[in-house]
């Protein structure tokens, strides 16, 4: 097993429904994503991008295949652990189209919520949160509520939240969809920098071809399978 491997899948399949309503979404997917890579995931709407992300994020269960996160085999025709939520909490960071911050928590609490659930000491999680806010240039907003921040600032907080648990993998579902061009480029550049500096594998779903130039590889869902451009 490669030391740099973040995600590996073999013959991964996912379908929905039965009988006349049966539909294959992902069929025999095989790929490896390495740490430090920013990979774009592109496909037309409804092709299964989010379904793939949710399988890689241990949220939705595939129908068959094998999946590794880092060097841990987590799925082989069934989940090999019941603690998929613990895997998400410890190994995976999520970024969404909208920031999806908890509206009743201030910025610092939004960041420290997950580490505290991982039993990280309050002082350590606060220190890390402040470092990340500093890194994203929004430290002065640490006590503000999400409703008091702009869309771009909230998205930066959301990215910071995804980094709070030192993830091996970040799954980003159209993180720039709600941002204008300049901010979108800024966010993608930031993700690229994070992937390299933090040695994290990032899979980013995008519909915006202008963002592809900043990615290391482009993964495409084509005829229900995965191909790299």
């Amino acid at each position: 097993m490669s030391q740099t491997q973040a995600i590996k899948v073999e013959n991964l399949n996912k379908s929905f429904g039965t009988g006349d309503a049966f539909v294959d979404v992902i069929k025999d997917a095989n790929f490896t994503i390495n740490k430090g890579e920013l990979v774009a995931l592109i496909a037309p709407s409804g092709a299964g991008k989010t379904t793939l992300l949710m399988m890689l994020g241990c949220v939705n269960e595939p129908n068959s295949g094998t999946m590794w996160l880092g060097d841990e085999k987590v799925y082989e025709d069934k989940w090999l652990t019941k603690k998929t939520r613990e895997i998400r909490r410890e190994k995976i960071g999520f970024i969404f189209q909208a920031h999806y911050l908890i509206p009743f928590l201030n910025i610092i609490d939004n960041l420290t919520l997950l580490p505290q659930a991982n039993k990280v000491k309050d002082s350590d999680s606060q220190k890390k949160a402040r470092e990340l806010l500093q890194y994203f240039d929004i430290l002065e907003k640490e006590t503000a509520m999400p409703s008091q921040l702009s869309g771009g600032q909230n998205q930066r907080v959301a990215i910071a939240r995804a980094l709070m648990n030192d993830p091996q993998i970040i799954l980003a579902d159209e993180p720039t969809a709600a941002l204008d061009m300049d901010r979108s480029i800024s966010v993608v550049k930031m993700l690229k920098k994070i992937a390299q500096e933090q040695n994290v594998a990032i899979i980013m779903v995008t519909h915006d071809d202008r963002m592809l130039q900043y990615c290391d590889r482009i993964m495409k869902i084509e005829n229900k399978g995965i191909v790299f451009q």
């Binding site: 989010t50 379904t51 949710m54 994020g57 949220v59 939705n60 939520r85 613990e86 895997i87 998400r88 909490r89 410890e90 995976i92 999520f94 969404f96 189209q97 999806y100 908890i102 509206p103 009743f104 928590l105 609490d109 420290t112 919520l113 997950l114 505290q116 659930a117 309050d122 509520m145 939240r161 648990n165 579902d173």
Partner: protein
């Protein structure tokens, strides 16, 4: 650790307070209902406690003046007093009257007693103005609830009575204020016919006589005598119904206020049930409003225990704040009720525990929603 319930409540503090106040008013009514029940029991016992007698001798085969009509001869008190075990015995009457008050009538229970006798039903602690009765005729002592003042004249029957004393906290089991008149006046009011009736009776050859009837004889025992044995002796030899103080309390609480207390108890249970359902619905709505956040929390890996803790704590806090508001509300309004409302700390604690348990049950509906929440529901598919 971040206290999610506290932060969520702080975020929607106004809404939370208004909701807690609304539920609190319901709980306040529950406390008032409990207070009405306590008040009824306390009222029922006021007269018994003030008289502080050991035995009630009443007409045979009746439950006594608190439950049904009872008539015995006044001179029975001498027979009773002759019994070795008896220390004091006196005749007493009870009568419902309607006192004229401004443009309306006020229902009261009038107690007639021998002002020269050994047993005075007016407790000195309850007499807040004036004096006890000192003349055989046309004096009256009234409860402050009647709103009469000292020296007011009250027309009763054919005569005007002067208010000579005012008591506080003297009420009958039904909640009507008590008034006190002399035994002679009471007998006249209760047993003397109208002039027209007397004329009619005379025309028929029936002679009206002064009444020597009373409703009960009350007695106290000498030290060292057994009250139950003495009561048994009187029943056996005088063919009267005899009740000890404890038995008379049972008559009052079981026979007189039982139905009312059951009704109040049922209302209380229904109100607690309604409050629980309302709390459950509020928590369900509050949980529904947070479904997106809950889905995100589950998606990023927060364990169910943290989210469930938030829901249960919010429900408990809502219940506790509602209970506090309920207490404040009930204490603000209880004196405005026409009947005695007795708010007791033990009842408040009982309600508190019921509210805590009900809140935990009420939170289950929100918890179920959390457990079933789909983490992917927050994002597009």
């Amino acid at each position: 650790m971040i206290h999610l319930a506290k932060e969520d409540i702080r975020h929607t503090l106004g809404k939370f307070i208004v909701t807690a106040m609304g539920v609190g008013m319901l709980l306040g009514i529950v406390l008032i209902m409990m207070g009405v029940y306590r008040g009824m029991i306390a009222d029922a016992e006021v007269l018994l406690d003030d008289l502080s007698v050991d035995l009630w001798i009443v007409q045979d085969n009746t439950l006594g003046p608190f439950a049904e009509a009872s008539r015995v001869h006044e001179d029975l008190k001498y027979t009773i007093k002759g019994i070795n075990a008896i220390d004091k015995s006196e005749a007493i009457t009870f009568q419902n009257l309607q006192l004229p008050l401004a443009n309306r009538k006020l229902a009261v229970l009038a107690i007639g007693y021998d002002i020269y006798g050994d047993i005075n039903p007016i407790s000195s602690q309850r007499l807040i103005q004036g004096r006890v009765l000192q003349n055989d005729h046309y004096e009256i002592v009234v409860s402050d609830k009647t709103l009469y003042k000292l020296n007011d004249k009250i027309r009763l029957g054919r005569n005007d009575y002067t208010v000579v004393g005012i008591t506080h906290g003297t009420v009958a089991s039904g909640g009507d204020p008590l008034v006190y008149v002399s035994l002679k006046d009471a007998q006249e009011l209760q047993f003397t016919y109208t002039n027209k009736r007397i004329q009619t009776d005379r025309a028929r050859g029936i002679l009206s006589k002064d009444s020597y009837l009373v409703n009960a004889i009350i007695a106290t025992l000498k030290d060292g005598y057994n009250v139950d044995k003495t009561a048994q002796e009187i029943r056996k030899w005088l063919h009267k119904s005899v009740y000890t103080r404890a038995e008379q309390k049972v008559v009052l609480t079981r026979n007189v206020v039982e139905k009312a207390s059951k009704q109040i108890g049922l209302f209380t249970i229904i109100l607690v049930g309604v409050s629980t359902i309302i709390i459950a619905l509020i928590i369900y709505t509050m949980t529904l409003e947070k479904m997106k956040e809950i889905s995100i929390m589950k998606l990023i890996g927060l364990p169910n225990s943290i989210i469930i803790k938030m829901i249960v704590e919010e429900t408990l806090l809502l219940g506790i704040f509602a209970f506090i508001f309920g207490n404040i509300f009930s204490h603000l309004i209880y004196e405005k009720f026409p009947k005695n409302v007795l708010l007791e700390i033990s009842d408040a604690w009982s309600l508190f525990f019921i509210v805590v348990i009900s809140s935990i049950f009420a939170s289950f509906i929100g918890v179920k929603k959390v457990i079933n929440a789909d983490p992917t529901a927050a994002i597009g598919g």
